[in-house]
Amino acid sequence: MKYALVLLTVFKQPFYLLLTVLLSIVVFTVAVWLPSFQLISIVSQTASLSELLSLLWSLYGAIGSNFSTTSATYTIMIAVLFGMNASLLTYYIRRMRTGSPNVKGVGVTGIGGLVSGVFGIGCAACGTFIFTSVLALFGVGGILAYLPFGGEEFGFLGVALLVYSVYSLTKKITDPLVCPI
């Protein structure tokens, strides 16, 4: 209950709500446009601004066509959780600015969640997960064949780490401000 109150306290403030929404949109946009970066680059050199903007807008539809239901779900969750995570971290650091912040654990977990999520997101079309490229870089691309969800595991891991990070930050915020002995 007290954790819910903390979340309410933070996100009732327009600054943190706006920060969360903006960061969530940025992460979501990168995930959906990721497979089309090369196309966007080519079109931006020849098309008018209005044509480019229309194309960019239409590419958001890829969340329905270019993602499985599972990958679309965790991509949206990662985007929202990342936005929340960054806002809570900002709130915590600002509040503790005069104290002695110890955000080591939550910071690393949050970053780990983002990195893991990034490996899992991207175009879910057959064989094009980012993780496929990264694994192949280390010469172990074949390991995907042994993963039951073909690489989507890293999306789940990203969600789990970000949820834990949000929980940890919320818990830290509720901790009383005391000087360590």
Binding site: E51, L55, A62, G64, S68, V103, I111, A124, G127, A136
Partner: protein, 251 residues
């Protein structure tokens, strides 16, 4: 007291450093997913053995092979805009994109503005045996029944709700589709076992890789002025329509 303050110094840099590291990971991931410097997919040579030396992906859509008489084309072969799709019969996203392309052809096909060129790109690692068999079967349909039989087989395969993800019951479906296309079953069986289309399928797949394809569906749209546009994955109908509009305006 001063010692205690100094001992806290590393924590001040922990978050920025962690963000920097994460940024490098993200940048690396974007780089390796977007420039075609990633792995070459395993190309099937027909015997379900990887081809020894698949070419490294160059990421250049200009490497798309010229559309010719041997291609499977829906619509006007001389259309100013050609969408060359490299597809895997067992890929569920190819199934979605097949529907999208049929809608594109419903809108732009009759006027002769757009042609759809279908090339093979079976992903052996993801859909072993079945993707290759379906590709061979579609080529046999084309050999024995021409372009109409090819599209009858291909449309039928993707339209069947039980196909995809390497779970298709091909023993039942392929003969059914061959019969529906009016093909002789004995000749069709002989063709399936002959292996004579393996080279063509491997060539299509290698061309997909040369153009930057690392997954399916992968498409290259060729505009009226020869500009090539990569279409990665099952992009939505609205995006394809917008891209056609952009290509038309660059004439």
């Amino acid at each position: 007291m001063e010692e205690q303050i100094n001992s806290k110094q590393p924590n001040q840099f922990l978050i920025p450093v962690a963000i920097l590291i994460a940024g490098l990971f993200v940048a690396g991931a974007l780089y390796f997913s977007g420039t075609g410097s990633g792995p070459a997919p395993v190309v099937n040579n027909g015997n379900n053995q990887p081809v020894a030396q698949a070419p490294e992906p160059t990421g250049s859509t200009d490497a798309v092979r010229l559309v010719g008489e041997t291609d499977h084309i829906k619509g006007n072969p001389d259309a100013p805009i050609k969408i060359v799709e490299y597809s895997d019969f067992e890929c569920p996203f190819c199934k979605r994109f097949h529907d999208t392309m049929n809608e594109v052809m419903d809108k732009y096909g009759d006027s002769g503005e757009v042609a759809w060129v279908f090339r093979q790109f079976p992903l052996e690692q993801l859909h072993p045996v079945k993707a290759q068999l379906a590709a061979v079967a579609s080529e046999c349909a084309a050999e024995l029944g021409g372009n109409d039989a090819f599209w009858s087989f291909t449309d039928g395969y993707f339209a069947d709700p039980s196909t995809g993800n390497n779970r298709t019951n091909q023993d039942v479906l392929i003969p059914e589709l061959a019969a529906a296309a009016g093909l002789d079953s004995a000749q069709f069986s002989e063709c399936l076992e002959s292996g004579r289309h393996d080279e063509r399928i491997a060539a299509d797949s290698q061309n997909a890789i040369e153009t930057g394809g690392r997954g399916t569906p992968w498409s290259v749209m060729i505009g009226p002025d020869g500009t090539t546009y990569p279409i990665n994955g099952a992009q939505p109908l609205a995006a394809i329509e917008q891209l056609i509009s952009i290509a038309q305006n660059t004439q």
